[in-house]
């Protein structure tokens, strides 16, 4: 593989990972506020379908993304309402919406499969695209990629460097304490669940309008679950989550290359890869296995390694606000 090919592969990994990055940033915001929106897989399917159909019918790309975002926000609102208002299990509501989004997308999209539609145009950023190596990888892409990259830094800054971000995290870590200090925990949780859901919806539409253009039944099936696992792998941090999405894309690209190099190996091995990766990565960050393996390791090796791998969820993730 020469340099040109390598750059093309890296650029395609970035493009393929962009919708996942957007979904991971959205879900990270939601979970940092203390709500689990488990419906990602169904939300992304329904918003991919809606986004494509809206763009196909109106021939307007932006309307497609807006429709996807609206679907995502609406599903998220259901999750927020049932957990905050009705104190129902977030997992239960999220799971039902996962199935419902899947079957709704199959039913409502049945007349729109395999049709042409508008897709996100290519847009190289002048000057920046001429930077050696980085230019063709990062700045010779389309708008979606730039949006995903900006989103990583925006959500990261918002979460960890801004005053409202501090309140957001307090709603997910110590909701009772935040409430006592005058933070409107319920309102924050509603707000960030809906914003996160809208981003997940944009991610769904990004598949049908850019990365995997068009609609067919089960178009993005499984990717929502991958995104949920990447949020955990990312330790509820947008930057680390984005790295996870890129690593996931890179592994898939590597599998495609290997598959071409070793055609005698069954295609099964490569299909199984994302799911084996999901289990492996979650084992790695949970620290139970690594902790046991490293029992006898020297502390100088053990501590930085564990600090690098280990993640902890927001302390009040998935629980209700009690003192009201």
């Amino acid at each position: 593989m020469d340099n040109g090919q390598l750059i093309a592969v890296l650029a395609s990994i970035l493009l393929q990972a962009s919708p996942l990055i957007i979904a991971v940033c959205g879900e990270t915001l939601t979970e940092r506020a203390g709500i689990v929106n488990l419906s990602l897989d169904g939300t992304m399917l329904l918003s991919a379908m809606t986004g494509f159909v809206a763009a196909h019918l109106t021939d307007n790309l932006m309307l497609g993304f807006a429709a996807g975002a609206a679907v995502g926000a609406f599903f998220a609102l259901i999750v927020a309402f049932s957990s905050i208002q009705l104190k129902q299990s977030q997992v239960a509501t999220g799971f039902v919406l996962t199935l419902l989004g899947d079957s709704l997308s199959a039913f409502l999209g049945q007349e729109y499969t395999r049709l042409p539609g508008p897709s996100v145009p290519h847009f190289a950023i002048p000057i920046l695209k001429d930077i050696p190596i980085l230019g063709p990888i990062i700045f010779n892409q389309d708008g979606l990629v730039y949006f995903a990259i900006l989103l990583i830094f925006a959500t990261s800054w918002w979460l960890f460097r801004s005053r409202p971000g501090l309140e957001l995290r307090s709603a997910g870590e110590r909701p009772e304490a935040a409430f006592a200090r005058g933070v409107n925990v319920r309102r924050l949780r509603y707000l960030y669940t809906v914003i996160g859901g809208a981003l997940v919806g944009i991610a769904g539409a990004a598949y049908s309008l850019d990365v995997k253009i068009g609609w067919s039944e089960g178009h993005t099936r499984g990717l929502g679950w991958i995104a949920l696992a990447i949020v955990i792998f990312g330790g509820w941090s947008p930057v680390r989550g984005a790295i996870g999405a890129l690593l996931f894309g890179a592994t898939k690209a590597a599998a495609t290359v290997l598959q071409r190099a070793f055609p005698e190996v069954s295609v099964v091995a490569f299909n199984a890869l994302p799911w084996l990766l999901m289990i492996g990565v979650l084992l790695l960050v949970s620290n139970k296995i690594v902790g046991r393996l490293l029992v006898n390791a020297p502390p100088a090796l053990k501590r930085p390694l564990q600090r690098m791998l280990q993640v902890a969820p927001p302390a009040a993730l998935g629980t209700e606000l009690k003192n009201e």
């Binding site: 488990l38 259901i78 499984g222 099964v268 999901m278 620290n287």
Partner: protein, 346 residues
Amino acid sequence: MRPGWLDRIWPLLPVLAALAFTSVLLLLFKASPVVAFSAMLEGAFGSSERILNVIAFWIPLLLCAAGLLITFQAGLWNIGIEGQIILGSIGATWVALSLELAAPLQITLEILAAMAGGALWAGIAGWLKTRGGVHEIFGGLALNNLAIILTNYLISGPWQPPEGGSFRGTVPFGEHALLPLFDGSRFSPLALILAGTAFSIVMIALRNSTWGLKLKALGRNSRSAFLLGVSSNREAVLAMMFCGALAGLGGAVRVLSWFDSLRQSISGGIGYLALLVVMLAAYRVLWVPFVAFFFSAVLNGAIVLQLRTQLHSSLGDILTGVMVLFVLLLGDPIRLRGLRRAKDDG
């Protein structure tokens, strides 16, 4: 406060809401809801053959829902049940393809292999949770997909029919390897007896056994259960494996009576459906068989609907999904009133 009529019609509201929602969808597609729903009704109960189909589909669903009652009691979300059904089908197929015995022995071994397959897959998910710290939802989901990939590998590789080429399934099993069927239908009375037995065992275990109590303690508060001397890890893995064995049995029923060979998408989504069944029954044991039967009728009706009107059969899944969603959103009126009162007081 207002007792009486509201409480009485409340359980009907989710059903009405789901019917209204699906009617709107049908009108969007310029189909008459009356025609569609009567097609579904006829598809489920229109002839004795169709009624037998509904019963045949109900049996594995009931087995899975019974298993899930155990895992839910232990506070576990066994989403991996879908893969456990598939591994059960694979286990039964493995025996069916590799042994040639007299029917009773052959079928017994097939069923045992299926239960072992399901329990194995559930045990992995349980082990990943308790030893590996991987939530059962994620472990189970990955294992579901791995089970689907394994099936595709088997039917396109080692278990491919000799004529080759087809990606649809293995060769049909011989008569001696299949469950005896009632009057040429897909309904096996033996499977019904097994499902009834399994359901009774679950009911007794939950109501009158120490095991049921331990599971309850685990589900309510795993830390205090541990302090009371319940080995939470061991109980969680056991609950998973018990559910997996029942799901595996359901998988055997799928390959040995609903079909006659291992196929792609062998589970037919029954595992996810069973989760909805238990949720709609609000985890009440005695409601489960009825809700499962209702779901089986809806889904079988939807297949006939698709044949007749060309509308996608996912309408049946939408109907059941919306119903469960509205149960979650409307909840128990008594509980809701309690919440409201607590708020007024506070």
